[in-house]
């Protein structure tokens, strides 16, 4: 549940989601769920010339399993909070 909670904190921030098929989508994080499915709004494809498929798409739902990376804002969340939460999560399992 660690990353689910982390992404909930990031709702409203701008992120770039890179998919396993190399498509990269930049947008504002609207919502996330336990599977780390992602909803983005105000989306733009990063390399629009290479991937013209979604020129007119501004909102999307991304299945969590197709995500490779999420590029996060550097001022996302306090790093110390992440470390503490990770230690707690690791100990609990």
């Amino acid at each position: 549940m660690l990353f689910f909670s982390y992404f909930k904190e990031l709702v409203g921030k701008e992120v770039t989601v890179e998919l396993k098929n190399d498509l990269a989508i930049r947008g504002t994080l609207l919502s996330v769920d336990q599977y780390l499915n992602i909803k983005l709004e105000n989306t733009r494809v990063v390399d629009q010339d290479k991937y013209p498929h979604m020129l007119s798409v501004r909102n999307c739902f991304i299945r969590g399993s197709v995500v490779r990376y999420v590029l996060l804002p550097p001022d996302g969340v306090d790093i110390d909070i992440l470390h503490d939460a990770t230690r707690r999560e690791a100990r609990g399992n």
Partner: protein, 97 residues
Amino acid sequence: MATEEEIAVKEPLDLIRLSLDERIYVKLRSDRELRGKLHAYDQHLNMILGDVEEVVTSVEIDDETYEEIVRTTRRTIPFLFVRGDGVILVSPPLRTV
């Protein structure tokens, strides 16, 4: 006060816990490698890394000579979430210099 549970290294995930806030090397699927500072991880090996360098390796074959040309593409990402299902291995950084 440190408890025994915090220090004990019982299973492989505990080994990764020792690398928290340290630089690590991650080998991913699709011939990708990451080097960055480990900030968070879970049992799926989802991770958050800071100051990451990604290296993508590709092999081209010359049309005439049929020799293999190995190319690497690098980029740096300040703060990155990595989905665990792409992770192959996690390790302290290898000395390349």
